[in-house]
Amino acid sequence: MAILTESGNAIALNGANRSRAALTSSRIRVVVVALVVVFSIVTWKLIDLGRTVADTTIEGVTRDVITASRPTILDRNGLEMAVDIRVPSLFAEPRRIVDVNEAVTKLRTVLPDLDPAWLTKRLTGDKGFVWIKRELTPAIEERIFNLGVPGLDFLTESKRFYPSGQETSHIMGAVNIDNQGTMGIEKHLDDDGLAMLQSVGLARNAEMTPVDLAIDLRVQHVMYDQLNDALTRYKAIAAAAVMMDIRTGEIVGMVSLPDFDPNAPSTLFEDYNGQKNQRFNRITSGIYELGSTFKTVTVAAALDAGAVKMTDQFDARYGIKFGRFTIDDFHGKHRVLSLPEVYKYSSNIGTIRVMQAMGKDNFRDFLTRTGFDTSVPFELPEMRAPTVPKQFSEIVAATSSFGHGLSISPLHMARAMAGFMNEGCMLPPTIYKRSEAEARPLCQQVVSPQTSKDIRYLMRLNALEGSGTRMNKFANGYRVGGKTGTAEKVVGRAYSASKTLAVFASGFPLDNPRYAMVVLVDEPQSENPQSGHTAGWNAGEVTGRIVQRIAPMLGISPDFSQSLDDELVPAELR
C-alpha cells in the first residue's frame, strides 16, 4: 500500500507479514549461498582427491610389474626349463614408521647383515616406499612379520629359475632383476606381448599358460656333455651343435660352448681363456666359412638343375688355375672321378667342375632360393646376417662351391641339410613345438624329391667309405650320413693351415630321414699323435657319439642290415 505525503511524495508502508516474508527470503538466500559455498568446497576437494595419484610404486617401479610372473617354459616332454619362484621382498614406508631407532634395532635381530647407518638413513624421511631387502625366504618373512614393526611390509616377487642351468643357456637367455627378458627365448616372449601383459598387471602365475618348446632336454644334455668332452679331448677353443627335426623344422637341441649361467646372467660377459666376447651363441649369431660341408649344397644345386647326373665323370687330374691362384685337392686323387667319388673324396676340383656345369649365376640363384644370403627366420633375437657376395666372379663362385668366400651360420646349414633330406621341402626352424600338419604350409620346395634321394645316398656313402667313417664307427646301425668340412680360418689376412674350423653336417636315419645335425669344433688339435686333425676325426666323432646316445631316446632302433644301405643306391649306379 502507498500513501501520499503532504509534500506529494509517495511512501511505501509494509505490513508485518510482508516484512517477515522479505526477511525469510533473504535468509533463504544466505542459506543457499552458504550451501553452494560448502558444496563447491566439497566438490573441489573431491575433484582434488580424484586427481591425486597415490604413489604406490616402490622406487619407481609399479607393483604390478614387480609381482608380475613369467610363464613356465617346458621342453617337448614337459620337463621344466624355466620356472618362477615366488619370493617375499621387504619394503618400508618411512612416513609410517614411528620410531626409526626401534625399527632398526628390531630389524637387525632378524637381518644382522644390514648396515645400521644405511638402514637408519633409509627409514627416515618422508619417502613413499623403499626397498629394504629383496628376495628373502618365507621363514625370514615370518620372523620379520612377528616383530610387529609398523610401516614394514612384504611384496611377493617372482624370481626366474632355470633348473637346467648352463645346458640351456643360449636357448633360455636371461631376465633382469625386474623380470624382463634380455636375451634368448625370454626376450622373444617379451617382444611377443608378455611385457605388455605384465605392465597392465595381467601376468599372474595361475593365469599363464606354459610355453612348450621343441627342445628335448635329454638330447640337449647329451649334446652338451659330448661337446664339453670335445673341448677337452681335442683342445678346441669352442664347440657347437644344433639338431633339427626335418619334418617339422623344430630345433630339438642347440648347444654352443663356451656358454654362461642363465641364473647369473653376468657370467655372459666373463672372459674365456683370457679372451673377451666368446660366450655368444655360435649357432645363430656366429657366421663361418663352413668349408667342404658346402659341397652338399653345390652338388644338390647341380643335380637339381639337371646340369650333372649321378653317373657323370669329372676331370680332377690337375688343379684349376684362376689367374695366379691354383685350387687343388686336399686329399688329392688326381684322376677322373665320378660324382659320388667327388663327394666321397671331397674333391675341390671336382666340385668346381660340378658348379661350372650349372653355371656360376645359376649357382648364385640357388643360394638365394635356399635362403643362404639372408638371416634365417628364427625366434631367438641373437641373429647375425650371413655374408654372401651379391655377384659371383669366376673365382668366388669356385671357392664358394666348396664353402670358402661366403660366411653363413650353422643354422643355415642345418636348415638346408634338413630341406635336402626331407624330399626337398625346406622348413623355417622354430624353437616352439610344431606338428607336421602345422609345418606343411610352411614348406618351401628347394630341390626335387629325386635330388633329395641322391643326396641321401651321397651322405650315407660318405659315412660308409669317405670322411665319415670315424663317425659311423660310433653310430653304427643308426644309418647316419653326412659331409665333413675342415675350413681353414682366416688369421690376419691369410688362411691358416693350423687354425681350422671342423664341421660335420649330417642326417639320420637316412633310410627314413628324421633329424639333421650340424656339429662345429673350433680349432681342434689331434687327440693323440696317431690321429688326424681334420673334421672326420673330431666333429665327425662327436656326431657319432651324440647319435649313439640319442638315437635310442628318440625311438630309432639300430639296424645293421645291408639292404637298407643298398636301397639308398640310385638305380643307375647299381
Binding site: 620356472v83 619362484i85 637346467s164 602365475n205 640337449q220
Partner: protein, 124 residues
Amino acid sequence: MLKTLNAILLFVSLAGVVGVYALKYSVEDLATDKGRLERKIDRQNAELSLLQADWAYLNQPAHVAPIVVRHQAALGLEATRQEQFLGFDALPMRPAALDNAALNSLFETLASGVDPIGQIIEAN
C-alpha cells in the same frame, strides 16, 4: 501415539548404533582374518614354487647324469651298445607250457585204480 512412535524410533536407532558398532568390529576381524589367510596362501604358494623348482631341478638330465657317473663303477653301469637292442622277432619262441591240471587229474585217476586209457582200448 507420538510418544510410542518416538520410543520405537529411539529404540531402533539405539539398536542401529549397536548393530553398526558390532558390524564394524566383526568386519575388522574378518579383514584381519582375510589378511592372515592371504599371507598364508602367499607363503604356501611361495613354498610350493620352491618345491616345484626343486622337483624340476631334481628331474633334469643335468642333475641325474652326474649321479649315474658317480655310481658307474660300483654298479657296473655302461651306455647301451647298438648290439644290445633287439626286436621282438629276434626273441626265441617260448615253449608251449604243459597242461598241468589235466596231467594231475590223470595221475589221480590212475592212483585210484581206474585206467582211463585202458578203458578206451577195451571199449573198442
